[in-house]
């Protein structure tokens, strides 16, 4: 038994390629069964006629994809992209300064990082429900505004685009802060002093040195916010109500209430294509940046 093991491990050590595939196998197998197979199934569903009571019937049709490009659904698509982009921009504006402060602090760094990931300790669903209590007409935000005399009547906050955006930004902000922090933390403080000694004022130091060098973190963070935002359905469902539907809700509805699996599958694939395009774009951006600057 020992001899066999030694021979096996020895053989693997001599053949790095084989050792590599042995390490890959469990994960690759898992993905093949639980990711690739369902994807292929969905791809097949998306080009098959709809079944009478959910499911599909044999045949081939592009009807579902054609239907997706009707104005109603394009509107949902446009709204999804716009809100996701807006949520990403807000996360960047709010998260970058936070990441900067954490990267620059010494003693409090551990505590601040802990606070950033603290929300993950509670279920996302629970936190989204909590936002309802904050934003509804009798919620905390309105109570404070009324008490302060800033508004005469409660503002309608819940079931508005604002509520969806607030929920998205709240839920996804840590995914922006952490990668940006990671890239800022590597920044040599001497670079800023060098820039200052060469005549760079604060704004020039930021735009000429800090921002270009943290671009990999900004791109990674934007991707980590934008992609989940595209696919979101819990946030828009709970905080946006029936009027603020995003693609995620559309897909969910098709599979549950509408029982139109092929259309749901087609919508999923359009969403996936969108994600793929944004990932490829950001990779291109990163490459170009690396080519331009060689920032590690």
């Amino acid at each position: 038994m020992r001899g066999l093991r030694r021979r096996l491990l020895g053989g693997l050590a001599r053949r790095p390629l084989l050792a590599g595939s042995a390490l890959l196998a469990p994960g690759a197998g898992w993905l093949a069964v639980f990711f690739a197979a369902p994807m292929l199934l969905m791809l097949a569903y998306s080009v098959m006629p709809r079944g009478r009571y959910a499911g599909v019937e044999p045949g081939f049709t592009l009807e579902h994809y054609r239907r997706f490009f009707e104005p109603l659904y394009l509107g949902i698509l446009g709204r999804t992209v716009a809100w996701s982009a807006l949520a990403t921009a807000i996360c960047l504006l709010l998260g970058y300064p936070v990441a900067w402060v954490i990267a620059r602090s010494r003693r409090r760094r551990g505590l601040l990082l802990f606070l950033v990931v603290l929300p993950f300790w509670t279920s996302f669903l629970v936190r989204t429900f909590a936002m309802i209590f904050l934003l509804r007409d009798t919620g905390l935000v309105n109570a404070l505004l009324l008490r302060a005399g800033l508004v005469a009547a409660p503002l309608t906050l819940l079931y508005t685009p604002f509520a969806v955006l607030a929920g998205l930004v709240y839920g996804l902000l840590p995914f922006m802060v952490l990668p940006v922090y990671a890239s800022l933390e590597k920044l040599d403080p001497a670079l800023l002093e060098a820039a200052e000694s060469l005549g760079a004022h604060p704004a020039a130091r930021f735009f000429r040195v800090v921002l270009p060098l943290s671009l990999p973190g900004v791109i990674a963070g934007s991707l980590l916010v934008f992609v989940p935002a595209l696919g979101t359905f819990v946030t828009s469902d709970l905080l946006g109500g029936a009027r603020q539907v995003m693609i995620g809700n559309l897909v969910q509805n098709q599979f549950t209430v509408a029982r139109n699996w092929p259309f749901g599958s087609a919508a999923s694939f359009v969403l996936m294509a969108l994600v793929l395009v944004s990932v490829l774009l950001s990779l291109r951006l990163r490459e170009r940046h690396a080519g331009e600057g060689g920032a590690r």
């Binding site: 060098a194 200052e196 005549g199 600057g293 060689g294």
Partner: protein, 370 residues
């Protein structure tokens, strides 16, 4: 008028505040190569950063003047000085050309003038602009990066160039060559260099004057020869080069000369110094290369002589160091003899030999108590 003046400048860090720089006063002359030398933590880098404007001095001192004008409160880019960092601090996302152009662009120089000045600055540090302008810092060797950092600072034609251990990360041979080049640049450009280093050889080889720093204060300021040949304190005597230290009390001899009597009872002639008085505790420093070795019982007249036995012989190429354990007191002295060729004319001494260590009284240095 000195180009840099520090008057009782202090800088404290931390809580409770600890003084990294403690009431330091010195002046740098225009055009000179001025070094701040000391071990890590002695305050030399903080002193440089105070001059650069990256740190503000504690309130209450006499302040910092650059070219006669108070510098405190001025931002680094308002001080007309260039800085070369230990880590080079080249912008990794910019090419060599863009790195050197950075300061010119920030100062709003016309775009037409920039490429020419960048090329001239690169040539000044012996980098071929045609080869290096487009390269990235990551593609350069340590020595080349250092040259780019120099060019980037020099292209703005600063009055003062601050260098923070710029050769620390370069290998020995290249470092020696760069030392000569820096000295040459200093002479050719007429720019004042303020150079921070912990390497005494470097400071001695390059500087016009050296300020030796110890625990936030300047222990001694002077020319390399003054620092080396006439160290004022035991710290300077042992930090710069090597010194044999002997302690004792002064006594006046009948002929009027001064002696130092050690606890072991040796009577050592010491150099004359104004203000010497009877029975004062003193320390004496003697450089290893100013001592000699002889057979027992044959001291040259007028020389100090101590008997001992050879403990070890260390071959160092140009010098041979001989460690001698003294007969009394257990002290060990180091004597450095010029190597005259161990294959042709080998040393007369071997481990265990009884010897006499001798030196001329005037080669001893009386140290101040710290």
């Amino acid at each position: 008028m000195p180009i840099v003046e520090f008057t009782r400048v202090s800088k404290s860090f931390g809580a409770p505040p600890a003084r990294a720089v403690d009431a330091v006063t010195f002046a740098v002359r225009r055009g000179e190569f001025f070094s701040l030398l000391g071990p890590s933590g002695c305050g030399k880098t903080t002193t440089l950063r105070l001059l650069a404007g990256f740190e503000e001095p504690d309130p209450g001192g006499g302040g910092i003047r650059i070219a006669g004008e108070p510098a405190c409160g001025k931002r680094p880019y308002e001080r007309r000085l260039g800085m070369v960092f230990q880590s080079y601090a080249l912008f990794p996302h910019l090419s060599v050309g863009r790195n050197v152009a950075f300061g010119l662009e920030r100062h709003g120089r016309p775009a037409a003038e920039i490429p020419g000045r960048v090329a001239a600055a690169l040539e000044m540090v012996r980098l071929d602009p045609a080869v290096f302008t487009a390269r990235r810092p990551a593609e350069l060797s340590g020595g080349q990066r250092q040259r780019v950092a120099l060019a980037r600072a020099l292209v703005l034609q600063p009055e003062i160039l601050l260098l923070d251990e710029p050769l620390g990360a370069i290998d020995l041979k290249l470092r020696k060559a760069m030392q000569l080049e820096l000295k040459e640049l200093n002479r050719r450009l007429g720019i004042t260099f303020v150079y921070v280093t912990h390497d005494q050889d470097e400071a001695l080889a390059m500087s016009d004057r050296i300020a030796v720093m110890d625990r936030g204060r300047i222990a001694q300021l002077g020319s390399p020869a003054e620092i080396y040949e006439s160290p004022r304190t035991a710290f300077v005597a042992s930090f710069i080069g090597e010194s044999n230290l002997l302690g004792g009390k002064t006594e006046r001899r009948k002929d009027g000369m001064w002696e130092m009597v050690t606890p072991t009872g040796w009577r050592l002639a010491i150099p004359e110094r104004p203000g010497l008085s009877e029975g004062v505790a003193l320390r004496l420093a003697i450089r290893p290369e100013w001592m000699d070795l002889g057979p027992p019982g044959a001291a040259p007249s007028g020389a100090n002589a101590l008997a001992g036995a050879v403990d070890d012989v260390i071959y160092q190429g140009e010098m041979i160091r001989i460690l001698v354990a003294l007969e009394q007191g257990g002290a060990r002295l180091t004597i450095a003899l010029r190597n005259e060729g161990q294959l042709g004319r080998p040393l007369a001494w071997a481990r265990g030999d009884a010897v006499l260590v001798t030196w001329r009284p005037e080669d001893g240095q009386l140290l101040e108590e710290e």
